[in-house]
Point group: C2
Chain length 435, copies 2
């Protein structure tokens, strides 16, 4: 893999001159397409060998990666990047080790490629099977966290895809060092190093070009904040696996066990407030009026700001009034909006209208109510008596994930190796012709 | 369902005035979204009842439908539409009966909705299932053949989706009459008639509006010629299930049985030349030099024009020289391009470069060669010793189909009821919180 160690920022280049970024991207695309053809046919042990070797290369290149990361962090502080963004950028020994472990975990997953998904015979003797195959070339555009470089590269490789990775410009040097370790892993297994390529420039124009490379990229996966996803969705000429925000809900039903309701609500909101599976809105059945003050008190005691409807405000003077905008806001912070509703039908209507079709949970002991909620809420993940923070490929037992898809096409919910595949029909005959 | 019996053509309307088409389309979208919520929860017997009643309504409204169709056909002839397009437009008793039979066949298919695709337990006791659910609202844009109105509407209904259908303007009156019969079927089963809506205007502006209705439509399926597909792909802000052209190949290997090779080639090309599964290019292994003249003679004898590489031209003076453009041309006519190649690797390279990833067949008695072809050709359907004309949902035993997807995302190959679905994760717990 050819990577340029210094960002090439070229925003004011003369457009009438040769466009070096367009040329660079076109070369990347051709190399990815060629690598994808090799990867699609690569045996499982070669792919796993590359993943194990990449894990080893990340450990042995530890000093180089951490040095590159310190440069990124220093530059980010100089540019006065917000503190949480700088925090997400920082690598240390522990995070390096976690990256290597994740690659080894991906190696241990079953190989999805070649699996026969269905097989049947036709009366005319044709034998039809639907067989899992790779998607081809995947473009992944992400922000900040440099470990995504290893996770995304590793998952694509496992599923037999080549990938073109475009990390945040603030993590450019860290991602470059990590990508070099992944390329070493591929080379040591005898696979093309170009199966995992990082866009070798921090120039933003590269993203615009990437989104139009319909000949060399089969699918785009954006992972990041709302503005990134919206830009990608609006500009991409390539199909997108969407990862929108997580405006997740907990609904405490009148038939809820109050102990479970309190534990699930507090965990769903406060375990980590910055993850997409964190709950943002609590809906409480009017029949659970006795539990409402306990839920509010728990949140306030944990340092969570509560913004409530009038009935919720009546439970505690510290509750602030919720505005109409609150029901549509993903706080990703220690803030929760709370609303009293009239039973499960009301809760379903609120969630389908205001939610982001990501992850929503009901707390109830009533089976019929539970099933109505699980069927009626139109989200990728619906839970009964469990925290929304379980919305995670690892927690589902799927291994690493690239993100949680909120779209309904192709992949919904956690996107792991299996979701990075397509299928083909293989039909075996003995000279059959169609009458 | 509200349908306007006469096309509203309004191309020169003052854009600053209220836009009646935009308003009409917005109403259609809201009605579809509301109907989709009902359809998603509709029990199997209601959906099947609506399909059976729609089949009956098409038969009892036969005279009305045929009268509307005669008006369409007369208008098409007046506008001097090409003869094959007029032919596709014409309905008669037999075609009406085929439409009703197709609806009954769709009713007889298993209901894909609610199927548990996978289910597993986690060590913490969480019970996870992946359950098939409808996609929501499907927009289908198609050309000419009015029977697509019944097939597409029926398949969407079976899979619990609402749909907005936009047929060709030349079949507007026929499609309106058919859609009215489908609406009758829905109403008689107690389901919302708005679950199947036809765009109630022949104005082309409606398509442009349809492709931007991201709030009310979940997926767009175009079915028609290349220019339609390209317009939809370029303009749509909604995800598209692509149906590109079928540039299909037959490869006759050196180890082919000449009898099978001749039967498969002739059928793949000449059974029907206008279908997307018709073969356009024949590749012949140099080691099959003795079979080549027989294949060419068969095609010529059947009235097929042959355009060949120099080696093919040497077999018969009637073979015309193939130009570079021939390898990239979908003739949909009695024309075949023929090229001699050096074995299976050469054939795979030619197909992956020039084909449309639709359907390709190898004729060989050698297992290793067959497996190399089936694995290496990157198409939705790959066949061994069988005609490419088997590329059809019905021939696969999947029932009716909306078309053959040449994209790799979501659905590949024949798109039937099962492919018009998504899934959700249902997680059942007992108070679990994430550590």
């Amino acid at each position: 893999m050819t990577v340029v160690a210094t960002p090439v920022v070229n925003r004011n280049a003369d457009p009438s001159a040769a466009n070096p970024i367009a040329d660079q991207m076109a070369r990347l695309g051709r190399a990815a397409r060629a690598a994808a053809e090799v990867l699609a046919q690569a045996p499982t042990d070669l792919k796993n060998g590359a993943l194990m070797a990449a894990a080893e290369a990340i450990r042995s290149a530890g000093t180089t990666i951490l040095t590159a990361n310190r440069q990124d962090v220093a530059a980010a502080r100089e540019r006065k990047l917000a503190a949480p963004l700088v925090e997400r950028l920082i690598l240390d020994e522990r995070r390096l080790e976690a990256m290597a472990t994740s690659l080894r975990d991906i190696a241990a997953l079953p190989d999805p490629i070649g699996t026969i998904l269905a097989r049947w015979q036709r009366p005319n003797g044709l034998d039809i099977s639907r067989v899992r195959v790779p998607l081809g070339v995947i473009g992944i555009i992400y922000e900040s966290r440099p470990n995504v470089t290893a996770d995304a590269g590793g998952l694509c490789l496992k599923a037999g895809n080549a990938c073109i990775l475009r990390g945040g410009s603030e993590s450019f040097l860290s991602s470059t060092a990590i990508a070099r370790a992944l390329a070493e892993g591929l080379e040591s297994a005898g696979l093309p190093a170009t199966a995992i390529q990082l866009v070798p420039t921090a120039d933003r124009a590269a993203v615009g070009i990437l989104l139009t490379m319909t000949d060399s990229i089969d699918v785009i996966i954006p992972r990041g904040g709302r503005s990134l996803i919206e830009r990608v969705t609006a500009e991409s000429r390539i199909p997108v696996i969407k990862h929108l925000d997580g405006l997740c809900h907990v609904y405490v039903d009148g038939a809820a066990d109050p102990v479970k309701a309190r534990a699930v609500t507090l965990n769903a909101k406060m375990r980590r407030t910055s993850v997409c599976g964190a709950a943002e809105t609590l809906l409480v059945d009017r029949r659970a009026a006795e539990t409402l003050p306990l839920l509010v008190a728990d949140l306030l005691a944990a340092g969570c700001e509560v913004r409530g409807c009038p009935e919720t405000q009546a439970t505690d003077p510290r509750v602030k009034p919720a505005t109409a905008a609150d029901w549509d806001t993903e706080y990703l912070d220690a803030i929760m909006s709370v609303r009293v509703v009239n039973g499960v039908a009301d809760a379903i209507a609120h969630i389908n209208r205001h939610g982001s079709h990501h992850t929503d949970s009901i707390v109830t002991e009533d089976t019929a109510t539970a099933e109505a909620f699980l069927a009626g809420v139109d989200s990728g993940i619906v839970l009964l008596n469990a925290s929304t923070q379980f919305a995670d490929g690892g927690e589902f037992g799927m291994g690493a994930e690239i993100g949680i898809s909120t779209g309904k096409l192709h992949a919904r919910g956690p996107v792991g190796a299996e979701q990075l595949t397509s299928y083909k029909y293989v039909v075996r005959g003995n000279g059959q012709v169609r009458p």
